[in-house]
């Protein structure tokens, strides 16, 4: 990776200021930069997903082999989208180009490319809207900011819609609440309709549609992966924990992103789920059919999102559980919070989410019946149902990275902080404008967690890295907690690239470290094997 991406010292962030006419000229494959554009989707991935016109090309080639009537299809779908989505239609109409969103986008800050301003990103498609769906655009053309739909425009859309991580930071600052992420999301769906799409997320969507998880693991593979997580738990704590899988009649279904039992540092968070559930004696089960909380469909299209999140409810019905707990994941929680109930609900076959340990009724999840692990844990801690030894995390000076989706899509800000403060002695916030609702993206969300755009990811992660650098230099922070699987995957590379000795963890890992279990041996290392210093 590193040999492809220029080192951080050599990056420049010069902002180019084009004229409005230049902005209307599409960026085509001639200007595509290596490290910025995505690989093309493979037939085998998108054909099972009913995405039409599957073909395998190189985006750098001149001819994109668009279907002959692509324009009609695109405009037809455009009109359909306007009818189906009020947000999209309103956002097409009401932008005043005040520029409040411009320097809110981490990709704009990282690349200086004016088309990466959220407003300009939306203008890419808005110019088409004006040309074909408004009178002013039809009559005045370029003067009204309208332009014809050409193959070049499609190329530009492909290039820039896949340079957005759907983090919604711009939406937070827009005086009209224009959500560029929403525009890009529906824009990607439009591109899908003419077979223009990228490779990365479709691999996972296809796998998840088939096997239930993004990694394409088969049921036994999942169970055995979880078993080895339990082995690691034994190694550290000396406690043998059970891992219920597909257990019918359990009270609670637990859904986590599949990376949790596959990748590090997700793994350590998974260990502490097992430890926690064992410790409080929760009657729960993992599932192999709904083995994935994450939903890469939410990066692509409504239908694909629905395809993936439907399984959670179907599995809950099948296993006859009462309600559901979801693990740490960012876009998963946007999906579970804002999408799943609408797309696949209602979940009236489940019971009210009441914590069997504390008796707390999770009123805010009354209809979806799905509770975030942080809410669940915060409730346990609040009622003193688990014993915690904060000093076991003393070797970590922790900061918390609000992942975009839980903060701007769910509003989950205080619970994670409550959990961290209960588990750690040293907790420091990053600068005010980079946390909570103003949090920065890791630079790799929204389907961008792919190797070929490493430079874009490193540049886009720059603001977050700088915030981390600030607390690292000021307080000696060496651990960045978060509640997002993509963050956990993206940050180690980002921190390495920006030369920050900051480790990444899920906040449940901190919980697992601090959790005092019945019958545990004296721990010599924390969950990730870092030995505790002996004071001899």
């Amino acid at each position: 990776m590193s040999e492809e991406v220029p080192p951080p010292e050599s990056l420049t962030f010069e902002r180019k200021h084009k004229s409005w006419r230049q902005m209307l000229e599409p960026v085509t494959e001639k200007d595509f930069k290596h490290g910025y554009y995505h690989f093309w989707a493979l037939k085998k991935h998108i054909e099972p997903l009913d995405i039409p016109f599957a073909r395998e090309i190189d985006p750098m080639q001149r001819d994109w082999e668009l279907p002959p009537n692509w324009k009609e299809i695109f405009l037809q779908n455009f009109e359909d989208t306007l009818r189906k989505n009020r947000a999209f239609k309103v956002f097409m109409d009401i932008c005043v180009r005040c520029g409040a969103c411009a320097d809110k986008c981490h990709y704009y800050l990282g690349t200086g490319d004016p088309k990466n301003m959220p407003v300009a990103r939306a203008e890419i498609i808005r110019s088409i809207y004006r040309r074909y769906f408004t009178k002013a655009g039809r009559i005045f053309g370029e003067l009204a900011g309208a332009r014809d739909l050409t193959e070049d425009v499609i190329k530009e859309m492909y290039y820039y819609f896949y340079q957005c991580s759907l983090c919604r930071r711009c939406s937070n600052f827009c005086p009209y609440g224009i959500d560029t992420a929403d525009i890009v999301w529906w824009g990607r769906r439009l591109l899908n309709s003419i077979g223009v799409t990228h490779r990365f997320s479709h691999i996972s969507i296809e796998a998840s549609a088939r096997t239930g998880n993004h990694l394409g693991l088969y049921p036994l593979g999942i169970a055995e992966a979880l078993e080895s997580v339990a082995e690691d738990v034994y190694d550290v704590t000396g406690v043998v924990v059970d891992v219920p899988v597909n257990k019918k009649g359990a009270e609670i279904l637990f859904v986590a992103p599949s990376a949790d039992y596959f990748a590090t540092p997700h793994w350590f968070a998974c260990m502490s789920y097992l430890m926690l559930f064992h410790e409080i004696g929760l009657d729960y089960t993992w599932s192999t059919y709904a083995s994935e909380g994450g939903n890469f469909g939410t990066f692509q299209a409504y239908e694909l999102a629905q395809k993936l999140n439907h399984k959670v409810y179907e599995e809950a019905k099948h296993l006859g559980v009462k309600w559901i707990i979801g693990g740490e994941c960012g876009h998963m929680w946007r999906d579970k919070h804002q999408f799943m109930d609408t797309m696949s609900g209602p979940a009236d076959f489940l019971e009210d989410p009441v914590s069997p340990i504390t008796g707390t009724y999770f009123e805010n999840a009354a209809d979806t019946k799905m509770v975030h692990i942080c809410e669940f844990v915060a409730d346990l801690i609040r009622h003193n149902k688990i014993k915690l030894d904060k000093s076991r995390n003393d070797h970590w000076k922790v900061t918390f990275h609000d992942s975009c989706n839980p903060s701007r899509g769910v509003g989950l800000l205080e619970e994670p902080r409550f959990v961290i403060k209960s588990c750690c002695n040293y907790f420091y916030e990053m600068p005010e404008h980079t946390i909570r609702d103003k949090t920065y993206c890791c630079g790799s969300g929204g389907g961008l967690l792919t190797e070929e755009i490493m430079e874009l990811r490193m540049r886009g992660g720059m603001p977050r890295a700088m915030a981390a650098k600030f607390v690292h230099e000021k307080y000696g922070v060496n651990m960045m907690a978060n509640i997002c699987a993509i963050d956990k995957a993206a940050f180690p590379a980002l921190m390495e690239y920006w030369k920050l000795p900051v480790e990444i963890c899920g906040i449940d890992e901190l919980l697992g470290n601090a959790l005092i279990m019945k019958g545990e041996k004296e721990r010599e290392t924390d969950l990730r094997g870092t030995p505790y210093r002996r004071e001899d």
């Binding site: 084009k18 809110k104 003067l143 609440g177 959500d179 629905q306």
Partner: protein, 308 residues
């Protein structure tokens, strides 16, 4: 100068276009479905009782419709989101609050609103005494040849909005001719108004007579000054342009799903009227596909215990 066309036909046409256009816009927006409840949550959501939510959290992440109403009011009248604006200093990788845009935007919008309200004196008869008193008070009447501050401040606000489009690099890049057009129209309306008020004074009684006759639909072509006809024509152009331009953001903000919906997604289900049916592998198909493996899991009694 009597000109029935400019005095009667143009204003009526413009007003009709304005009303019909705005209603058309409202209805066309309303004709689109709202597939998802997607509020931007800029604060702590409603959650467990011991998690404190401050007043700002209630505005920024509303949990019920009252809090949504509060959020919309703050958004419409105080430009709440714009108030949170920050600036990124690339050289130091540092953020600061920046409220210039907010300040001048709010200066313009409020001043202009007050100017509009004060214009009511031309459209109503008899003008109630308290109305004059109150509007003069809020319009900040000062000096002995009276000057209403709001007229001046709305021009200052517009001037700032215009100049930033010219001189700020980001702004120049994203500004379209239509952005300038809207500003130029408003500026010319304000300038002609100010000229008539302070520099080249024109008889008022015919103006009021014309305005009244228009508003009660008994149009009379009155002999008014050409400056006023210019003002009236510019206003007509502006309001006729209104529904088809970005100025429609005034109504659009009310339709913005990221702001006008409560963040109670998991508490109350949002129904998508056009929700497509599920296409994909059902649990039964899945059972078929991975029969062997699932059976093995069943054999282990659905419980995996590490061997130690």
């Amino acid at each position: 100068m009597i000109n029935p066309f400019l005095e009667i036909v143009v204003p009526y046409a413009a007003f009709a276009i304005f009303i019909v256009g705005v209603l058309y816009r409202f209805v066309s927006w309303a004709n689109s479905a709202v597939p998802l409840k997607i509020p931007t949550t800029s604060g702590q959501a409603g959650t467990l009782p011991f998690i404190k939510r401050s007043f700002y959290d209630r505005i920024d992440s509303p949990y019920n419709k009252w809090e949504v109403a509060l959020r919309m009011l703050a958004e419409v009248f105080l430009f709440r989101s714009l108030f949170k604006n920050t600036r990124y200093y690339q050289s130091r990788h540092e953020h600061r609050d920046t409220r210039w845009l907010w300040g001048f935007a709010i200066l313009f919008h409020w001043s202009f609103l007050i100017v509009l309200i004060r214009h009511l004196r031309f459209f109503i008869e008899p003008v109630p005494e308290p109305f004059i008193y109150v509007t003069e008070l809020i319009a900040l009447k000062i000096w002995v040849p009276t000057i209403y501050i709001t007229g001046i401040t709305s021009l200052i606000g517009l001037g700032y909005l215009f100049l930033r489009r010219l001189f700020s690099g980001n702004e120049r890049t994203i500004s379209l001719p239509s952005d300038y057009l809207a500003l130029i129209l408003l500026i010319s309306v304000v300038v002609t108004g100010l000229v008539m008020r302070y520099i080249y004074k024109i008889p008022l009684a015919p103006v009021k007579e014309l305005a009244l006759s228009l508003i009660v639909f008994q149009p009379v072509a009155v002999d008014v000054h050409w400056l006023f006809i210019l003002h009236l024509t510019l206003v007509s152009i502006t309001i006729a342009y209104f529904p088809f331009s970005k100025m429609m953001h005034a109504g659009g903000v009310l339709f913005s799903p990221t702001r006008n919906m409560p963040n109670d997604n998991r508490k109350r289900r949002h129904v998508n009227p056009l929700n497509p049916p599920y296409h994909g592998i059902t649990r039964e198909e899945y059972n078929e596909m991975y029969k062997d493996q699932l059976e093995e899991i069943a054999e282990r009694d659905y419980n995996f215990r590490p061997e130690v």
